[in-house]
Subunit: 117 residues, 2 copies
DNA sequence: TTTTCATATGAATAGATGCTCATATGTTCA
DNA sequence: TGAACATATGAGCATCTATTCATATGAAAA
């Protein structure tokens, strides 16, 4: 028979655990949160976002700045579009990308501070 | 013959690209940065960090809070120890973990704000 | 010392992910 | 319309990663 939540014994600090469980956020919030961090958790994407923080750029520009294929850049842009981290505007054949969210800028700034220490 | 950086033609906005390239941070900074974000980019780890933000907890407590095996928790703790995101203290047979870095708290807070919108 | 318990860790595996290549879409210009 | 070009996307593959299971370590109690 499987031990259930209530009759935990062993090393568990029941009071602490109960208290923490009550204060934990909803599953969805954690999933959303970790998905956003994961999006920032790739060197290519973080470079792209930093570049877009400096200037609005087209796919070709990003490709040149990062030294990666336009296909690779475009795939990553799609991911960041889906996560609402970048927005775009079309101008003729080109598509210009820029950051869509001020939170991204905040996260980048804090991250850079931390990374530099 | 491969086209080099200087004689790019096509769609590239040379001035912008040059400007952005100059302002880009060092490779190491981006790698460190993305590694930190990646560490936050997993539901299990983000839950663990949030729980540790609420209370100092032992492995067994975290296992109970998250509903995951102690082995899984321990593996994740090791990753976060290596990234200097959590610290620990031994007390008898138990090891208590807590957050080691105020940046982590900042990142979590901004992330939660964003995730909730 | 030996046993017990809390934690740590190595190996294995299933699933996720980033890039490349080929191809499709959509816009401009001839 | 058709050619040229910028971007987007699907498939495939190599790599990475989170968990499980088995085992090791380390501390306390018997």
């Amino acid at each position: 028979m499987k031990r259930n939540d209530v009759c935990e014994e062993r090393c568990i600090h029941q009071d602490m655990v109960r208290k923490v469980k009550e204060k934990m956020l909803e599953e969805d919030v954690f999933n959303h949160l970790s998905r956003d961090f994961k999006t920032l958790g790739d060197p290519t994407r973080v470079k792209m976002l930093f570049a877009l923080f400096l200037e609005e750029l087209c796919v070709c520009d990003l490709s040149s700045v990062l030294g990666l294929s336009e296909s690779a850049i475009s795939h990553q842009l799609r991911i960041m579009r889906d996560r609402n981290m970048v927005k775009y505007r079309r101008e003729g054949k080109m598509v210009f990308y820029s950051l869509s969210d001020h939170h991204v800028v905040q996260l980048l700034k804090i991250g850079v501070e931390h990374a530099r220490e």
